[in-house]
Amino acid sequence: MLPGAPNNMMTNVRGLYAFGEVNFAYHGANRLGANALLSCLFDGLFCGASVDAYVRQEEPSTAPAASIPQAQYDRVVDQETRKLEALLGSVDPARAADPATNPYAIARELGAEMTEACTVVRREDRLRRCLATLAELRDRAARPCLADPAGWGNQSVVFARATADMLVLAEALAKGALERRESRGAHYRSDYPSRDDTQFMKTTVTRCDAHGQTSLAFEPIDADLIAPTARTYGKKDSAAAPTPQPPAPPGPAPQPAMAATH
């Protein structure tokens, strides 16, 4: 990353940047709770100049939005209108409370399943069951039944769409956890408790195609400059080389029993 280069933290959509908590950068395997501030602050400080450079040098000046054919906009509007109409067309107050097709009920089940299978301790068989559940939930979420026909302030339409997105993310998460047969950072696999740098010192990249199908790949991490070492948080070091003792006070040498307590 060259400071100020327009590509810094740009997504694969030209001109769309992923700053802050939406990107995975800077934290590697460990992004503990409440640490999002680092990526927010760093991206703003370091990559803000990239947006400025992009605006000055790149497409916005050479290809303004007005030069894009109207048909391109119309196509997207049509596509989204069809999605909205499909959701509004599903409205059936008599069936809306059925948890099989109610987006809020589906999202609750999704939350419960992900909490059980994909949080602190992960295991292959549980992850496989989770993926089966996710497939079933995706199937149900694809044909939702809503209760609200309103064209104003209709939150269930928004929520139904968000639920479909949550399911894609959940699948990416579960697949990544399943394929990473090691433990690293906050990812702990009880069936593979140790870190495996030969196979998995890699970044997991999940792609989602136009049909919402996710596929997983691993990209190697460049570690030429710094050799990776075991992360022991000082535990192993202190066992190997005990902290130096304070200079012995004049007088009798410390009792062995006392020395052992240090």
Partner: protein, 279 residues
């Protein structure tokens, strides 16, 4: 956490069961859209431990049926952070304005069948159900220029230094999330759907306190006179009726009445100086 309960076996739908068999009644003042009539609906909601108003509203959405068994539309509400720092889920709960995310059912309806009433704030126009449009509260922040002027045209250098005393005062004020509780409780602040009238109607305790916050900031104080001018005019600090409700309902316990007093004094000093052409 039950690690191996028969969850997600992938065969059939599973309605979320209440971990304890208690139900509460949510009595909700509903409204289908701006200027449409309001009506009340009761919902009997199963609650588990640690349930809050938001989780109950989600339960209603998962099963939008009233207490007397009629199918209805899901209730609309606003929410953001769910940890009482964004203010968007503010509503009137059992008659008092507060955030619904931090409103625990066990505290407000401890027994089976207890009733909790939910209403949208009355000082803002209703968008739908419990969602209100708080534009006027944010407009008030623009009136007092509640920001630090940084336009990138000059180097700021290392930035101003702040004494621990000022920091302590400012920290309390900085917790304001413009939720609107102080405005809902204020007898001087009334519903005003016409944005043209916002410039001259009472600005509200939150904006007065924010003017103080930014006048205490060394860079922000460059616009101190502009903020005082805004508070001198109609709808400014002199419209406060000293009811002191604002400080009682503020969820962040911001010393709003101290801010109103401090800004009242600053406005008086400013106007005297101005009279003698000193400001």
């Amino acid at each position: 956490m039950t690690a191996h309960s028969p969850l997600g076996n992938g065969t059939h739908a599973r309605p979320a069961p209440p971990p304890q068999g208690r139900r509460v009644v949510l009595r909700i003042k509903r409204c289908d859209g701006p200027v449409k009539p309001s009506y009340w609906q009761d919902f009997s909601v199963p609650v588990g431990p640690n349930a809050n108003v938001i989780s109950c509203l989600q339960t209603i959405c998962a099963s939008p049926v009233t207490a007397d068994g009629r199918a209805t539309t899901p209730v609309a509400w606003d929410a953001g952070c769910l940890e009482e720092v964004c203010g968007s889920c503010t509503m009137v709960i059992n008659g008092k304005a507060r955030q619904s995310c931090s409103c625990l059912i066990d505290e407000h309806a401890p027994r089976d069948g207890d009733v909790i009433t939910l209403e949208p704030m009355s000082k803002f126009p209703v968008v739908r159900d419990l969602v209100v449009n708080r534009d006027r509260a944010f407009h008030a922040l623009r009136r007092v220029r509640a920001w630090v002027p940084i336009d990138g045209t000059y180097a700021l250098g290392a930035g101003p230094r702040e004494t621990p005393q000022t920091q302590e005062t400012r920290y309390a004020l900085s917790q304001c999330m413009s939720c609107g509780c102080c405005l809902e409780a204020c007898p001087q602040f009334n519903l005003q759907p016409d944005p043209a009238a916002w410039e001259t109607s009472f600005i509200g305790a939150h904006a007065i306190s924010q003017a103080r916050l930014f006048n205490l900031h060394q860079t922000g104080s460059r616009m101190a006179a502009e903020r005082l001018e805004a508070l001198m005019g109609p709808g400014g600090v002199s419209d406060c009726g000293n009811a002191q409700n604002c400080v009682k309902v503020c969820p962040k316990k911001i010393p709003l009445t101290e801010s109103i007093a401090a800004m009242g004094r600053a406005v008086t000093v400013h106007s005297v100086k101005k009279f003698f052409s000193l400001a």
